[in-house]
Structure formats: structure tokens, C-alpha cells
């Protein structure tokens, strides 16, 4: 990593690192995002390489900041995992209507197979739904090149570009040659009024939508002519259309086939696909996840074979691609189950779940390490939907359950998740309190542990661990009108912690309990950051 920026032309990089290297080479003004596997390392690497990167409270804010950067004529990179784009979608759809002066590259890191996610949505659908051009790298070299191309496309057509990656592209290391593509230097940031292009009131949004469709038609023509798609000539009996990491599996198991590898998968190079399909006896689409390319081809009247429905679920790999090509739908061998992840020995979340189990609570849970509270030995989390849902779902349960059950409901959310999208839930709790009150338990372990110890606004340190403004949960809860606000270390005296939760459950008022103790794995680093920051202030 340290040698990344040296003059060696070749390095072995993960896809995430390669995106960061491209962002450096393109002089991206600012990288924004919210940590999420498998995207997290992009901004961390960008910062290590000397770029300016920051964590936002959530993906929507990260994208909004990035839109502002692109309105100023500069280059912005915004990173998130697939489900993060749901949060940012509101901004994305209308940003597509606006006219950007600089570049806006949105990285969506999808997680087919759900190695570390709550669903396996295929975000290629977003490109089509929002009308945003999309590039899909298949290895780190392309992650590097496509990031640069995305910036170029964004600046040429004044639109956001989606760089859609997947877990295996983000986290696999492959050889990268730097400097294979050069793009113009960024222009200096500037501002010029352009009301009709950036103020999306209906009167301006209507022509903006027409403009967007016209732009997409131009990009489609360009993609057909000179887009980043690759034809590998082979047998005329079998042709395979593919994109992303699936391309690698195709080359592994069907080296004899003709292959059309699509780099830009929205708008699709339909005429190129048609010509390819007509040049072979049988044209098969090999893609991970949804039948996105299949549907695109068939809508255009191109005859292609897709994969059997069973291969829509989970990741692809060489064996599965071989099975698809052999039209093999026999049951797949089940992998030997490995050891499941578990809360670390001594983790402060352990005493929390022990107490909640002892009190027979109904727990509306959320996303983070503490999601592991659902597994044995605790089995003390009853719901998990999306970031921040603990509070809303908990309130819904309180509103509808009979009083005896309702009073056992607790919403449990981590510190970073609370900042991400729990604050509006807390506002809802104050605004529409259940008759029997409610208990919100914020598990503050001082870091975004799940994704690898990233900072967040509640830690009061930036992405680079430097002191900055801090959101104080206690002050926030009180300022919103919650009277019972408690802070407690759940591990120091587990029985005292349990008694406090019992006390809160027994009152018909609203309570916020902040269970605060640093994550075991992060505690040492946190102390070190604090020491450095104190020295700097002295």
C-alpha cells in the first residue's frame, strides 16, 4: 500500500484500491460516502494516497455534497454499498435531470450472495430507473480505467455516472497498470447561475427530463460505436454476452466461446449486441443477479438465452457458469457450513443482549455487529430491516401490540447507525409517542465496528481520525424533548444495566439509554487518536 504511489507502473490492488488510485490520478476534489462492505476501502485508500475524503452521516448526504461539488465544476466521487443507494436514491434521480459542470461518479458496491448485507438487490436497475449511465468493471484494472472513463463521461455529458461494482471486484486483488488512460486536468472550481439547469421546479424539470432522454440516446449511440465494450472472437457456435466479474468465469470455463463483454451496461449498446447475437448460432447471457442484460436484449428483439432462475440467487463462480452453459439445473452441492461469526469475547454488546434476554424483551434491532444478537446464545433480536428501522419498527410494535406485550418492546441501534438514519426515528418517537412510552437503546461503542472501525459524527473525529465537531447523543435526545436520558457502561455492572432497562420499561414515558463502552477491537486505537488530538491542541 505504501508503495502504491511510487513510479512502478504495476501493482497488485483490490478493486476498491484501484478506484482510489484513479480518483487520485483524476485529482478528484473530494470523496464522500458512508462505510459499507464492500465499498469502505475506497475512501480510506483515497485518503491514504493524499486525497481528501470524508465520511458523511449517510449516503444521501454524501451524494448531496458530491452534487454540490459537481455544480461547482469540480470532480466528486461518492461511495456506498448497494443498499446505501436506496438511501441516496432521492438525490440521484433528480441529479440526473440537472446539468453538472464537473464530474460526479457514484460507486455502488453490490453484494450478490450477501456476504455482509441484508439483501442482494441488483443496482443495475437503478441506472435504468434513474437514467444514469453505468459502467461495470470486471477486475481492478478496469476499476481503475472505468473510474477515469466515468469522470470523462460525466464531464462530457454533464450527468452523474454510476460505477457499479460487486464484492468480488471490490475485494479481489488483481494486477493494475497505472496510467493506461489519461483524461484532461480538472478545470478550476467556479460558479455561474444556471437556474433552469439546477433548480428542479416543475417548469424547469419538464424540459430537463426531455434533455436527459436526449443525452441518454446520444450516449447509447456512442456506446454502440466506441463504448468500453470488448469483443473476443471465438467459436461461431456459442456466443456469450456478459459483464462484470461474470466475464472472468466465462473466460475460465468457456475459453473457446465468442464473448461480447459489456463495460457500459446502461444505456446498452443494443446494436452491438444484436450484431453479436446474429453472428453466432447460440447467444447466451451470463450475468450475476437479476436478468438485467437478458431483459435489455429481449426488449430490443435480440434472441438470447438467459440462465435458469436458480442461478439468480447468490454469487456466480466458475462451477455455476459451467452449469449454466450445460443447462444443468440439478441441485447444487451444499457447501460444508463454516463457523458462523460471533460477538467477540468481552464485547460490550454481550451484556446488553444478556439483559434483554433476561427481561424477555421484544427487540426491534438494526444493522451492525450487534445484529449478531439474533444468533445463539442470545437469540435476543426480533427484527432487522434496514439502517435506522429499529426505531420505527419498535414504535409500530408498541402502537399495535396489547399493553402487556407492548411494554416489553425495545429499539436497539448502534451509534453509527443512529446517526445514519436513527435521528428521524427519534423525532418520530417524540412526535408520535406510543401510549405506553418507549425505550430506545443506543449501543455506543465509539466506532463503526462492523465495517472495520470507521469514524462517524458521534465520535467527533474525521475519517482521518482528526478532532472535529461531535454530535452528543444525550444532548440531542434532550433537545428533542426526551426527559429520561441515561448513559451507562453495560459491561461494568451488568445487573445495574439490566435494572436500568427494567426501570425504563416500567415507566410509560419515553426513555433513551446510551450504553457506552468502546469496542474492544477499537479501544486501543481510539485512545491513541485521542492522545494525538490532545497533543495537537496543546
Amino acid at each position: 500500500m505504501d508503495s502504491l504511489l511510487q513510479e512502478h507502473a504495476l501493482s497488485l490492488l483490490s478493486g476498491d484500491e484501484a478506484v482510489a488510485m484513479a480518483a487520485c490520478d483524476a485529482e478528484v476534489k473530494l470523496g464522500t460516502g458512508y462505510p459499507g462492505t464492500p465499498s469502505t476501502e475506497i475512501l480510506e485508500t483515497f485518503a491514504t494516497l493524499g486525497g481528501k475524503a470524508q465520511w458523511s452521516p449517510n449516503e444521501k448526504v454524501a451524494l448531496e455534497v458530491a452534487i454540490g461539488i459537481a455544480f461547482a465544476g469540480a470532480r466528486a466521487l461518492v461511495t456506498m454499498k448497494h443498499v446505501g443507494l436506496n438511501v441516496a436514491a432521492d438525490a440521484l434521480f433528480t441529479a440526473a435531470y440537472t446539468r453538472l459542470d464537473g464530474a460526479l461518479v457514484v460507486v455502488s458496491a453490490d453484494d450478490p450472495g450477501m456476504a455482509s448485507s441484508q439483501n442482494e438487490q441488483d443496482n443495475r436497475r437503478y441506472a435504468q430507473a434513474a437514467g444514469v449511465p453505468m459502467l461495470e468493471p470486471s477486475d481492478s484494472q478496469e476499476a481503475y480505467e472505468f473510474t477515469l472513463r466515468a469522470i470523462e463521461i460525466s464531464e462530457r455529458w454533464h450527468v452523474p455516472v454510476l460505477l457499479r461494482m460487486t464484492t468480488r471486484v471490490c475485494h479481489s486483488k488483481t494486477v493494475v497498470r497505472r496510467g493506461t488512460i489519461t483524461i484532461p486536468k480538472p478545470r478550476p472550481a467556479h460558479f455561474a447561475h444556471d437556474f433552469s439547469s439546477r433548480v428542479m421546479i416543475p417548469a424547469y424539470a419538464r424540459p430537463a427530463h426531455l434533455r436527459l432522454r436526449k443525452t441518454l440516446a446520444e450516449i447509447a449511440a456512442w456506446n454502440d460505436e466506441t463504448g468500453p465494450n470488448e469483443l473476443i472472437a471465438g467459436s461461431s457456435s456459442l456466443g456469450i454476452v456478459t459483464s462484470g466479474v461474470a466475464f472472468q468465469y466465462v473466460r475460465e470455463v468457456a475459453p473457446e466461446a465468442s464473448v461480447l463483454k459489456l463495460g457500459m451496461t446502461y444505456p446498452l449498446p443494443v446494436e452491438r449486441m444484436r450484431a453479436f447475437a446474429e453472428s453466432v448460432d447460440l447467444c447466451v447471457v451470463i450475468e450475476e443477479g437479476d436478468p438485467y442484460l437478458v431483459e435489455g436484449a429481449r426488449t430490443a428483439g435480440i434472441a438470447v438465452e438467459g440462465k435458469p432462475e436458480m442461478y439468480r440467487f447468490g454469487e456466480l463462480n466458475s462451477s455455476r457458469v459451467r452449469r449454466i452453459l450445460n443447462d444443468d439445473t440439478s441441485p447444487e452441492p451444499k457447501p460444508v457450513p463454516g463457523k458462523p461469526p460471533a460477538l467477540c469475547p468481552g464485547c460490550p454488546h454481550r451484556s446488553v443482549y444478556t439483559a434483554l434476554k433476561n427481561l424477555d424483551c421484544i427487540v426491534a434491532g438494526d444493522i451492525g455487529c450487534y445484529s449478531l444478537g439474533v444468533l445463539p446464545p442470545f437469540e435476543a433480536m426480533d427484527t432487522l430491516v434496514c439502517m435506522g428501522a429499529a426505531i420505527g419498527v419498535g414504535l409500530g410494535l408498541r402502537h399495535s401490540l396489547p399493553p402487556e406485550e407492548a411494554k416489553r418492546v425495545v429499539s436497539v441501534i448502534g451509534d453509527s447507525t443512529f446517526v445514519h438514519s436513527g435521528i428521524t426515528g427519534l423525532v418520530e418517537m417524540v412526535y408520535n409517542p406510543p401510549a405506553g412510552g418507549h425505550v430506545l437503546l443506543i449501543l455506543d461503542n465509539g466506532t463503526t465496528a462492523m465495517t472495520g472501525m470507521q469514524e462517524h459524527p458521534g465520535t467527533g473525529r474525521t475519517l482521518a481520525h482528526v478532532k472535529t465537531g461531535r454530535v452528543v447523543f444525550e444532548d440531542l435526545a434532550r433537545s428533542l424533548g426526551v426527559r429520561n436520558v441515561h448513559t451507562i457502561d453495560p459491561s461494568q455492572d451488568p445487573l445495574k444495566f439490566q435494572a436500568l432497562i427494567q426501570e425504563c420499561l416500567d415507566t410509560p414515558e419515553l426513555s433513551v439509554v446510551i450504553a457506552r463502552r468502546d469496542c474492544l477491537l477499537a479501544a486501543r486505537s481510539i485512545r491513541e487518536y485521542e492522545r494525538c488530538n490532545e497533543q495537537q491542541t496543546d
Binding site: 475485494h171 475459453p255 461469526p341 449478531l372
Partner: protein, 161 residues
Amino acid sequence: MSSKPTNVVIAGLGGQGVLKASDILADVAFSAGLDVKKSELHGMSQRGGSVSSDVRFGERVFSPMVPEGEANFLLVLAPDQVAVNAAALAAGGILIDPSRIDELSLPNKKSINVALLGALSRHLQFSVEAWTAALRRNLPEKLLEANLLSFSIGQAVEPEK
């Protein structure tokens, strides 16, 4: 047609140094001028659960993951993870597990990952100098000496036929 890549799967439990070992191996192969791909999963898997990492190297590598049943070498850091990963191994592939090494002879138990790399090195073409350089690039200075010793202890283990 290019020759087939060498496939290595390294497996163990979160915190055992599986990813570090695969980084070192990938680095050695990369430094030898080979095409290299290395694959692994981050995130949830770090919490003490099963972890595995695939390293492939050769003239040209496509899939970053070792295709099932095609691993030439399977390095397993935790004895209870052998069965979990056994399907990765090719017919005639070589299993390298901790039973091959006297843990008490290691400067510390944590360096078992590097000791197993030492055992693996007997089967590969890379020079001791290349391994040493890769260890140097991938480990902090204060851990280097213990790991170099562990590597040589692993290297001294007679390879199985």
C-alpha cells in the same frame, strides 16, 4: 494455450492471519512477474467466523476464486476448518495443516500462518530471497524476525508425497 494457473486456498478463523498469509503469497507471485489474483470476503466474516482466501497465479488468471475442486494446495490454519474447506482441494492436491508443524517450536503461536507458508514454499518455485522480501513488505518491523524464524521452521518440514 497458456498453462493452467497454480491455485492456493488459505483457510482458518477470523483473526488468525489468513488474509495476511494470502497477501504475502500473492506478493511473492506478483514480484516474480506472474499474473496474480487473490480473492476474499471482508466484513461479517471478521468476527471470529470461518475465513478463506484464494490466491491464483500463472501466465494468465481469469476467475479470482479458485474453482471448486481445483486447489493445488490447501493451507488450513485451524484444524477444525479442514473439513469445511476439503472440497476446494483437487485430486492429488496437497493439504498443509498445523499438524505438520510443532507449534511449540515457533517463536509465537500467532505466526502459524507464516510457518505454513514456509511449508508451502517447498512446493513452489520462488526463492528464499523473494519470500523474505515479501515478508518484509507485508509485516511490521517488530514482527519480522519472529516471522522469518517461523517461515524457516515451516520450510524445514519435509513435504509429503
